[in-house]
């Protein structure tokens, strides 16, 4: 018994040696590969990459999906062809952009804003992050309608795990005011992001133009739902100064080698999902240009057709206009025997992995100003001349994107302009011409073409009434929320659906009033 007591005592003492039992745990808990404080400009650059990329890999990218919907591209394969076929079994593809945006750019911008907002020397850092966040939220609400906005991205800071959805009717005014306030706070004398800003190198003056251009875009969005506000904001935007020069175009810069994140995301998607083999036959997901797109360019003798399109003949890419042929959008999920004879994007121009992505161009300003002029909201130039400047600016896009390989000769531009002057007629007829031209001009920015299609009805695409489509053979009006929201944010999701309408592809969002 004595021995026992001694033994227990000794073992107890041995154990006590361990009972400062969490010594060194702080060290053990420090991740050697991470830091505890963010560096705002590095997070901001990532937010630019993520915000300009349309949310990830093949199938989840809204821009690539909408390339199909706006009938630029299609695929014989039903899965990859969802954008142009809208088949029921693939509608979940539309939820991806929503699911990715918040943990990526929205959260990153919140981190940046939190880090710089109290530092008076960083007003430009703050303003630029706010403008970029407005851009990102705008993209989201345009695709989905009501989305979490005021409570979004507060998971870590405020433990908000189930953000409420804001009605689009309140998101829009808020974003417009945000753009205005941020633009006005820019100060050319203060520091900025410099090279960490891959759009403007940190230039406050250019960010100001971008902010007012976005305001122009957003203001014009309201023509169907609130014409008075539309006029107010369009007027204000023009007064603030929008992008009118090629030098001011808002574009993300990429590099062609290195990591995927540094490459043009939309092009990388096209490249990986279809055109990497470069033989016209083994296109990975069965993609080609769509027939509506190629035949339209042929019918108007568009000098851009040989710039952007090729067909594989004898193992070589051929840009001859009359040889181009788009693929029908209703091929029933089987490889067509003549697959190789269909046109696809020109690797020398459209598929440059290091080419910039144009986010807001002078051409877009001119087309929107044309409409503003027609509506009597702008009198700085005539609608006819604004339209012509828009067409000419758009013709220059391809040399901006692809250098000499994309340069269209001046006589060809002149001839095209001469044949495509703005018609006189009803506003609707003129809008038809403007936004059909917009479709041709802004390619491959399908998002913005889709937005204007929903607002104006143009280009007047013939919907693809493919078997088992989810829309009754109509081009869809919005994207569906990801299914995860039904489980993880049930109450707020249900409230949004009750307010906005069924969570399906044909429900119209607020500004897309019937």
């Amino acid at each position: 018994m004595k021995n026992l007591n001694k033994g227990i005592l000794i073992a107890g003492l041995a154990a006590f040696g361990l009972s400062s039992c969490d010594k060194g745990y702080k060290d053990l808990n420090t991740n050697p590969d991470a830091v505890s404080k963010p560096t705002p400009q590095y997070v901001f650059t990532l937010a630019e990459y993520n915000g300009a990329g349309a949310g990830g890999h093949y199938g989840s990218s809204s821009s690539d999906l909408l390339l199909g919907t706006m009938q630029y591209t299609t695929s014989y394969n039903d899965v990859a062809g969802f954008g142009s076929k809208y088949i029921q079994s693939q509608v979940q593809q539309t939820g991806s952009a929503f699911g990715a945006a918040y943990p990526d750019e929205i959260n990153q911008l919140n981190i940046v804003i939190k880090a710089v907002k109290t530092d008076p020397s960083k007003v430009n850092w703050l303003a630029i992050a706010r403008i970029w966040r407005a851009y990102c939220f705008m993209r989201l609400t345009d695709l989905y309608g009501d989305v979490p906005y005021t409570e979004a991205g507060l998971g870590y800071d405020s433990a908000v795990y189930k953000p409420a959805y804001d009605p689009q009717s309140t998101i829009y005014p808020s974003l417009l005011s945000e753009l205005d306030a941020a633009a006005q706070s820019l100060d050319a004398t203060k520091s900025s992001y410099g090279s960490a800003d891959l759009i403007y190198g940190g230039s406050p003056a250019q960010w100001k133009k971008f902010a007012y251009s976005l305001m122009l875009r957003m203001g014009m969005r309201l023509t169907k739902v609130d014409i008075a506000s539309a006029q107010t904001w369009v007027t204000k935007a023009i007064g603030g100064g929008v992008i009118m020069q090629d030098a001011d175009i808002a574009m993300m810069h990429y590099i062609s080698t290195g990591q995927d994140i540094n490459k043009n995301p939309e092009i990388l998607n096209l490249w990986n999902s279809d055109y990497i083999a470069q033989n016209g036959q083994t296109n990975t997901e069965g993609g080609k240009y769509a027939d509506s797109w190629i035949s339209y360019l042929q019918s108007t003798n568009d000098p851009r057709l040989p710039i952007i399109s090729i067909v594989w003949i004898g193992g070589k890419p051929d840009t001859t206009s009359y040889k181009q042929k788009g693929m029908p959008q209703n091929i029933p999920n089987k490889l067509p025997a003549n697959f190789i004879t269909y046109s696809e994007p020109n690797p020398a121009t459209v598929l440059g992995l290091g080419s910039p992505k144009l986010l807001f161009t002078a051409a877009e300003s001119y087309f929107l100003l044309t409409e503003a002029a027609l509506r009597g909201w702008y009198s700085g130039a005539t609608a006819v001349s604004l339209y012509e400047q828009g067409v000419r600016a758009a013709m220059r896009h391809w040399s901006i994107i692809a250098g000499s390989a994309g340069t269209i000769q001046q006589p060809a531009i002149d001839a095209y302009v001469a044949n495509n002057a703005l018609v006189s007629g009803t506003l609707d007829q003129q809008l038809r011409q403007i936004y059909t031209q917009f479709w041709v001009s802004i390619f491959p920015n399908a998002d913005e073409v889709y937005n204007n299609y929903r607002r104006t009805g143009y280009p007047a695409l013939v919907p693809n009434n493919y078997p088992t489509n989810a829309t009754g053979g109509q081009i869809f009006r919005r994207f569906e929320y990801p299914i995860s929201e039904q489980n993880l944010n049930t109450t707020n999701y249900n409230a949004a659906v009750a307010r906005q309408g069924a969570d399906d592809l044909m429900t119209r969002i607020w500004w897309d009033k019937q």
Binding site: A11, A15, L18, Y156, G286, L335
Partner: protein, 1048 residues
């Protein structure tokens, strides 16, 4: 640690006697004759009869139970005989001088009643004293069964243990859960402990995912590195009460492996064991062979249409016509090809050779073993090689001081392990999906003259299986070292201080090449993992054994343990081999190297005291306090107690003779645990791999998610109670062991999915709750026991009821995994068992039950994707072992079964889309009538035909109804047959062989019952929590071969 080894030794000695001493001329008074009988009066063959004073003087009984013992010349010592036989109590009898004939009756062994078992920390305890159920499996059950991964060999053997090998080829992992899944965290497998110290059981780089692509291979777990020949026995401690001394990691149960040690003997003992087995695909799907390759009722008649329909059997009636052209561009008769699966896979083979040397003297014993396993899988070019060297040394340096050491070195090499999940780089898709009139061998060799993948279908993501076999490259090498050393010192009488250190370390190199010329990724991809992992444990204990009084015995142990687990992992990935066909990490146009360095520490003190009252009543009290590095510094430790007792009813009260033994037991224990991930407390930021610009983001978790860390994490608690009854009846010829248990996990640390609109996809919360309860029954019987023929039966059955009680406030479910394209998901659903399969169904009219069709899509309307389809984990498990011995022959037959789970088949989903299943036949000839109601409730009736792909697309769209591909996963399998013959070594005595045994062994021979028509219900490909999916992995196989075991 039963008497079995002793008895065996006795037997061997007997054989020695027979070998070397026969024929000596003896005078008759030196011959002692007699018979040995069992309690029922039957003669006992093979019983050892030895002189107590000189064990070398021994003999064995013959078939009639008779023996003749020849005494040494001029022997004058006491005439006491020790008579022993397996399964009987050893008896010592005195023989009168001059008595020449002895008749001895042996009682049935009480070994099972007084059995000593290995418990937590390697402590040997009498089984009767335990307050919980423990099951021991002997080492020879693993050497004969010859599963490469010993954990697989537990299948069906232990009540409440759900063990299953994965269908991932040689060198694959196992998944073992004991009494159900107990935590919502990532790991529900038991802790593996070798000789009292934990070893690592991780899969390098993590287990495969359900929907992974290309690089999604099972890289083998830690337990796969243990050589079955080195195992003395395995004890299964089934959870909290048994395992509380091991702390948090034991809450899922502990599998205690005791390795063989040397024995004091003259000379060197040599054991040689050699096994050769072959394996073949076990299940071939039941395809339709009515309509052949083609589309919309038209067969393929040229190369282009053949390529468009390479994996589509939507063609014309198979009529043998000769217009048919396949993807090889050649004409073939349009006939059914029914052997594609058999023709694509080969016969796999495994050769295992092991040799062990053991010996020593009374001070020091040693055992050294070397083993080599070479396995070639059923998929050509898949191989696995494992070399194991194991040295064990035990030495009693002085009367009080002894040391014990174990060193094991493993070299494991895997080549071309097969993936599961999505199609790219998964060769298993080809034989399953290829059109039914095409011979899969026509796709050989899978590449053209430039080495590029040849087209065989319209989706390049569906790789050409032969291209994958011939051009994809995977190789992994694991160098592993397990070292243990302990020193024990007897400080005072009965008080022993022991210090042990153990280290399990491996260095792992892995690469997986998606080659240049792949149709889907023409420039190739590289994935690699380089890692080293260390699991260190240091343990100090003081143990005392003594008596408090005449009636009360006591044993106590106190101790302290420190654990440190750390890994240094680099994940290498890259795209585009700049110089084509040259596969080096330096030859990539884009490459990245991501470090991952998790480090976990746990410190503990513990104590346990056992009281033994007259060997009738036993009581154990225990407690442990753990400090966890992964928890909030404010709240990182927890104390938890345990208590257990047993009562030997049969010794306390006089029971009817029918009962030979009765024991009641019960126990209650708590176990606390820390967070599974190391960096869950503080949010950090890390660089994102980038060229040019520096990029930074929230540090993602292992799965690439933004996770909200939790600075307030506190320990979770798992509380278990169990009660049981053990009965032996009819002179121990019938035994019952019954257990009820309940295990509740509270404050479980859950990585909960949240709305991504919060900016994060997950948050770590501390509020999960999970409950398991169940019963286990073990029945043992010895229906026949005669001198020449014995029949033993053991039947175990268990039922585990599992319920997810709480995830997070207001959160009804968490998604754990999604199939390829999310056609079904695996979720934790509040109120349902762990791992519920969710998916869609066809909407049915509430009143009439008719299918609701959409007039927009002309297909059935799918429900939301959150319909409960079933449980992924079988609640019922059972195993039935029958063992027959006839003279030198023995036959061991194991049946096992699992019931009540569901499995979702990705293969069937694709085979439906491709028109290969019989379920796609309706409507091909005359159209398919779709009859039901539309969404307004009005009658819907239409006929669809093959024209324009409408019927094909209708069946293709079936992928949107998960319920169609869900099956009951219940099965009964003939798991194991071992037929052995003990060679009569008398005839080969010149080789000095002590014993030799040759066996026919077979595993997974037949599926006696299943509901999955087209695949093996055990078609699992990951040992993670994510079960319940068939996802086009390697088919399961049946294995058969020969085993030779020789002892010198």
């Amino acid at each position: 640690m039963t008497k079995f080894p002793n008895a065996l030794r006795g037997l061997l000695l007997g054989f020695c006697w027979l070998l070397f001493l026969p024929g000596q001329a003896q005078s008759s008074d030196r011959h002692l004759k007699g018979t040995v009988k069992g309690p029922d009066g039957s003669a006992l063959a093979g019983a050892t009869v030895a002189l107590a004073s000189d064990k070398k003087t021994a003999t064995a009984t013959d078939a009639a139970g008779a023996f003749t013992l020849t005494l040494p010349p001029a022997y004058n010592g006491p005439l006491e005989l020790d008579i022993s036989s397996v399964g009987f109590e050893t008896r010592r009898v005195s023989v009168e001088r001059g008595q020449l004939v002895v008749s001895v009756v042996l009682d049935n062994s009480k070994a099972s009643l007084n059995e000593v078992v290995v418990t937590a920390l390697g402590i040997n305890r009498e089984k009767r004293s335990l307050g919980y159920a423990v099951t021991t499996v002997k080492g020879d059950e693993f050497t004969q069964a010859r599963e490469n991964n010993i954990a697989n060999a537990l299948t069906g053997k232990v009540a409440g243990v759900n063990a299953a090998g994965l269908s991932t080829g040689p060198g694959g992992s196992s998944r073992v859960t004991i009494r159900g899944n107990g935590t919502l965290g990532p790991d529900n497998q038991p802790l593996y402990v070798v000789n009292g110290m934990p070893i690592d059981n991780s899969v390098p780089g993590g287990p495969p995912t359900v929907n992974g692509i290309t690089n999604n291979v099972d890289r083998g777990d830690g337990i796969a590195g243990i050589n079955p020949d080195d195992i003395e026995s395995i004890s299964v401690l089934k959870g909290g009460t048994a395992a509380a001394l091991y702390g948090s990691r034991a809450s899922n149960g502990v599998i205690l492996i005791t390795t063989k040690k040397g024995r004091a003997q003259r000379g060197v003992g040599v054991e040689y064991n050699s096994t050769a087995t072959l394996e073949n695909v076990a299940v071939v799907p039941d395809f339709q062979y009515t309509y052949g390759q083609g589309l919309d009722g038209v067969e393929s008649i040229d190369l282009s249409s053949a390529q468009a329909s390479g994996r589509k059997s939507w063609g014309a009636l198979i009529d043998g016509n000769t217009n048919y052209v396949a993807v090889d561009g050649k004409n073939h008769p349009y006939t059914a090809k029914k052997k594609n699966v058999q023709d694509f896979y080969q016969t796999g083979s495994t050769f295992t050779n092991s040799i062990a040397f053991s010996g020593g003297n009374e001070k020091t014993v040693y055992r050294f073993s070397a083993a080599d396993l070479t396995s070639n899988g059923i998929l050509p070019k898949t191989s696995y090689d494992r070399k194991t060297l194991n040295l064990s040394l035990t030495s009693k340096l002085t009367d009080r001081l002894s040391i014990d050491a174990l060193a094991q070195y493993n070299l494991e090499t895997g080549k071309n392990r097969t993936g599961a999940g999505d199609a790219l780089g998964n060769p298993n898709w080809t034989p399953l999906e290829i059109a039914n009139t095409a011979d899969v061998r026509w796709l050989k060799p899978g590449y053209d003259s430039n080495g590029n993948e040849r087209i065989w279908n319209d989706a390049s993501i569906a790789s050409n299986g032969y291209f994958v076999i011939n051009k994809y490259q995977e190789k992994d090498t694991k160098n592993r070292f397990i070292g243990q050393a302990s020193v024990s010192y007897e400080l005072f009488k009965n008080l022993v201080i022991k210090g042990t250190a153990s280290e399990d370390f491996y260095n792992y190199n892995y690469y997986n090449i998606l080659p240049t010329g792949t149709l889907y990724e023409p420039n190739g991809q590289y994935s690699g993992i380089k890692t080293d992992l260390s699991e260190f444990n240091g343990l100090v204990t003081a143990s005392y054994k003594g008596n408090l009084s005449k009636d009360i015995g006591i044993s106590a142990v106190v101790g302290a343990n420190t654990r440190k687990n750390s890994e240094n992992r680099l994940t290498l990935s890259g795209l585009n081999f700049t110089i084509p066909y040259f596969y080096s990490f330096i030859n990539l146009s884009s490459e990245s190297t991501i470090p991952y360095s998790p480090r976990i520490g746990t410190n503990s003190i513990f104590g346990s005291v056992d009281f033994d009252f007259k060997s009738l009543f036993f009581l154990t009290l225990g407690g442990r306090e753990d400090w966890f590095s992964t928890l909030s510094p404010k709240n990182n430790h927890i104390f938890y107690p345990s208590v257990g007792g047993s009562f030997i009813l049969s010794d306390a009260v006089k029971l009817p003779e029918f009962f030979s033994y009765a024991k009641l037991r019960g126990s209650w224990a708590q176990v606390g645990g820390g967070a599974p991930d190391p960096y869950s407390i503080n949010l950090t930021y890390s660089n994102v791999t980038s060229s040019g610009s520096t990029l930074q983001n929230v540090t993602p978790d292992v799965n690439g998610n933004n996770v909200i860390t939790n600075p307030n994490l506190k320990p979770y608690t798992s509380t278990t109670y169990e009660g049981g009854l053990e009965l032996q009846m009819l002179k121990s010829r019938l035994g019952i062991d019954f257990t009820y248990y309940n295990r509740q996990t509270t404050n479980d640390i859950v990585n909960t999915a949240i709305s991504t609109t919060s900016g994060y996809s997950n948050v770590i919360l501390n509020i999960g709750e999970l409950r398991n309860s169940g019963v286990e029954v073990l029945l043992t019987g010895k229906p026949v026991r005669t001198p020449n023929f014995n029949w033993n039966v053991s039947y175990n059955v268990a039922y585990n009821s599992n319920k997810v009680v709480q995830l997070a406030p207001g959160l009804p479910l968490i998604q754990m995994a999604a199939s390829v394209n999310a056609w079904a998901t695996l979720d934790q659903v509040v109120g349902r068992p762990f791992g519920t399969i969710l998916g869609t169904r066809m909407t049915r009219d509430a009143k009439t039950g008719q299918i609701v069709y959409s007039r927009t899509t002309h297909t059935p309307v799918a429900t939301t994707a959150t319909q409960v389809l079933g449980n992924s984990v079988a609640p019922y498990t059972m195993g039935l072992t029958n063992e027959f011995r006839y003279k030198r022959f023995s036959l061991n037959v194991l049946l096992d079964g699992k019931f009540g789970n569901k499995i979702f088949s990705i293969f069937e989903l694709y085979a439906t889309r491709m028109g290969k299943l019989k379920s796609t036949l309706p409507g091909r000839a005359n159209g398919l009538e779709l009859k039901g109601v539309d969404q307004s409730g009005a009658a819907y009736d239409t006929v669809i035909t093959q024209a324009n792909g409408v019927l094909r697309n209708y069946y293709d769209n079936n992928k949107t109804y998960s319920e169609l591909f869900l099956h009951d996963g219940s099965f009964v399998k003939l798991r194991q047959v071992i037929f052995s013959y003990q060679l009569p070594i008398k005839n080969i005595s010149t080789l000095k062989i002590q014993s030799a045994n040759i066996s026919f062994v077979a595993r997974n021979l037949f599926i006696l019952y299943r509901k999955t028509h087209n695949f093996d219900p055990e078609q699992s490909f990951t040992n993670s929590n994510n079960q319940g999916f068939e996802s086009i992995g390697l088919p399961r196989t049946r294995t058969y071969g020969l085993n030779l075991a020789v002892k010198f």
